[in-house]
């Protein structure tokens, strides 16, 4: 081996410099992150309602979020208007790949439950055989500084400084969590055994603020439901609007024909459609996937004015507006 290396010594020395440079360019992490166009997920793969044929017209849109980028990737994407390159946030730097996945699952689960509740509530106005019973059950941990190892993504917070969620509405209970010194009581379920753990947390200046999601427990629902799509790698809350519309349309059996509908926007318990990340990339994804109608939160509309999209855009602020639009168009 050495004999061979000696034979090509000069050329190897010359080549080693560009080689090391290329390796650095292809592997060294930068402080940049990118949001890139992704694809569509059919909602009928995500939600099953007993005895109901789910509408296959609706699709949620997912985008890819990568961080950190390598120098090569940042050069490659610099001139691409479909990509959104940003400096990584402190929260992204503090989030491992596992935590990122868990965050996606938590927010998706909350979003699916909220979508189910809102859709059943709206559909029950049209058909009184549809029922849902639920109650507020505290908070889910979505993000916590990684130094707080006792707290896990997805933990259920049932008490804050000794105050139970039972005595509060969500808006008031979450305010308790944003104090600088707090003691969380966590409910954990392992093999159907419930245990409670207390975690004390003191905010320091280097910490990014924690993020929580509301935990609503669905006690009963008619028709009953399952979420078979929960374990997929695609996560996040941005499918809330479309999930709600799919459940609503399926429960009432609205005929949408063979149109391909997609959309993005979170669903809140008061019916508000919330803002999402990567709106530009979602609009491009919908272009690539040939959708016919696309729902977006009203507040995002000004951000997509420069994009030439070939489909109909429906701008909504609340789920009631979206449902009204569907009923006027297809009923």
């Amino acid at each position: 081996m050495l004999k061979l290396l000696k034979q090509y010594k000069k050329i190897l020395i010359i080549l080693s410099f560009p080689y090391i440079y290329m390796m650095l360019v292809l592997t060294a992490p930068t402080e940049l992150s990118v949001t890139a166009p992704g694809g569509l997920n059919q909602v009928d793969d995500q939600i099953v309602l007993e005895g109901i044929e789910m509408s296959d017209n609706f699709n949620t849109v997912y985008v890819y979020s990568y961080y950190p980028l390598t120098p090569f990737q940042s050069w490659l994407l610099a001139g691409d208007e479909t990509m959104d390159i940003n400096l990584m946030t402190e929260r992204q730097k503090d989030t491992s790949m596992r935590d990122d996945y868990l965050q996606g699952q938590v927010s998706k689960y909350v979003s699916l439950k909220t979508a189910l509740i809102k859709a059943y509530e709206l559909a029950s106005l049209e058909d009184d055989s549809i029922e849902i019973d639920y109650h507020y059950a505290g908070l889910y941990v979505y993000y916590r500084p990684s130094r707080i190892t006792e707290l896990e993504i997805g933990d259920e917070i049932v008490e804050i400084n000794g105050e139970s969620y039972l005595d509060y509405a969500h808006e008031d209970f979450i305010m308790l969590a944003y104090q600088d010194e707090v003691s969380f009581t966590i409910k954990r379920t392992h093999n159907e055994e419930i245990s409670y753990v207390t975690v004390d947390y003191t905010y320091v200046d280097s910490d990014s603020r924690m993020i929580f999601y509301p935990n609503y427990t669905i006690v009963s629902a008619v028709p009953s439901y399952t979420f078979p799509g929960l374990d997929s790698v695609v996560g996040g809350p941005s499918g809330g609007l479309v999930n709600t519309l799919t459940i609503y349309v399926s429960l009432l059996g609205l005929n949408i024909g063979d149109l391909v509908l997609a959309g993005t926007g979170t669903i809140e318990m008061d019916g508000t459609i919330g803002r999402i990340g990567g709106i530009t990339q979602k609009i491009y994804t919908a272009i690539y996937e040939n959708v016919d109608i696309f729902f977006i939160p009203e507040s995002h509309f000004s951000e997509i004015s420069s994009i030439d999209y070939p489909y109909e855009i429906v701008r909504v602020e609340t789920i009631e507006q979206a449902v009204l639009w569907l009923n006027e168009r297809f009923n």
Binding site: K3, M22, L76
Partner: protein, 128 residues
């Protein structure tokens, strides 16, 4: 047809003979050193195109195409590996230069490449 089958048998008999001949003239030590050297060199060479392709996976639309390229590169790696393996082996045993190592090199590379080809197809079929 029979002529073709005969040719294949003759080819493989020749391949077996050459392998036996090479085995006789080499030692375990030099084979181990050649394997290690060939692995090192071939991985170093293949690392750059593989990393370029992995970096390009941010283009979601190209995912399938890039995966196919990866399979092709991995198949190509087997040819590169055996090229260096026999090059190093000849380097350790100069008497091997009189033997035609091209046939064992190509046959073994092709077998490994075919193996990677099937593995690649199974992986691609599972993912896409």
């Amino acid at each position: 047809m029979n002529v073709l089958i005969d040719k294949v048998f003759v080819f493989f008999r020749r391949f077996k003979k050459l392998i036996k001949l090479i085995d006789k003239k080499t030692s375990v030590k030099s084979v181990v050193k050649s394997v290690a050297g060939a692995l090192l060199l071939s991985i170093l060479i293949i690392a750059i195109p593989v990393l370029v392709i992995i970096n390009m996976f941010i283009y979601a639309k190209l995912t399938f195409l890039l995966s196919v390229f990866l399979v092709i590169i991995v198949m190509g790696w087997s040819f590169l590996y055996y090229f260096f393996y026999y090059k190093l082996l000849k380097n350790y045993h100069e008497e091997l230069s009189e033997i035609n190592t091209k046939i064992p090199q190509l046959v073994e590379s092709s077998i490994v490449a075919t193996f990677f080809f099937f593995i690649g197809i199974i992986v691609l079929a599972t993912i896409f």
